[in-house]
Symmetry: C2
Subunit: 147 residues, 2 copies
């Protein structure tokens, strides 16, 4: 974990279109092993160097949903953060993420309906500025009315 | 892990529309703690009973992407399985998944383009027959031509 951004809640009343938050994290072998245990996905492209070297990826890669988890972490911890209800997410996997890669997960507000507390966000993950995963998130944001 | 289905590869030449595979897994506290570590998402709705009891969920819930990981496990290990390239996934989160819930993740082929090795699948997770997550996956399936 390299991000030092505040983690907590941004209520719908304080969210604006264009607002953005991010985190940066290195994907480790331990992350991949733990994700395999949680998901039961032990596909050797994630876990077996010899097998993975013979695939089109030419080496082990992280599970796509592991990388996607970084997007949900930005949403759940920063924007809107605690109190958010995650409604939907689209994911397009564009390039592999490998053990040792430093991933930036970025979330940017693109549309909102304050009355319905509904926020739409552009979401992506990148490595050295190259997008490896992109999509759109839709959430219900918390409101100060419910504090 | 309660599924005993074969894990390996189904090549594009052997895939048919309507073909379906699934797995069943109980979501545990340990799963949620590990997913929090991997993703850096320590939102207290996942980890803090006292906090979570005061939310609309009235108790701790699993990270949405943790549940989504079960779908990707069916895809990566069973249908099409090893050798699959995951291109995209949509996710609609419909109901919370709680520690102790037994989740069925189900993947069903809805469309395919054999020439392009592209397969579209309906994907969902359910608990006691009630859908808690649904969406669509698009993948490139392996081919016997490349064996």
């Amino acid at each position: 974990m390299l991000d030092n951004d505040y983690r907590g809640t941004i209520c719908i009343e304080d969210i604006e279109i264009g607002m953005s938050r991010s985190l940066r994290k290195m994907i480790t072998d331990r992350d991949i092993e733990m994700f395999a245990e949680i998901s039961t996905d032990h596909n050797p492209v994630h876990l077996d160097d010899d097998y993975a070297n013979e695939t089109i990826f030419e080496g082990r890669i992280a599970h796509g949903m592991l990388t996607a988890g970084l997007i949900s972490a930005v949403i759940g911890e920063q924007l809107p953060g605690h109190g958010t209800v995650y409604l939907g997410q689209s994911l397009k996997f564009m390039a592999p993420v490998r053990p040792g890669d430093m991933v930036d997960a970025v979330v940017t507000v693109t549309d909102m309906d304050i009355g319905k507390r509904r926020v739409t966000m552009d979401t992506h993950c990148e490595i050295d500025g190259k997008k490896v995963l992109k999509g759109e998130a839709v959430v219900l944001a918390p409101s100060r009315k419910f504090d």
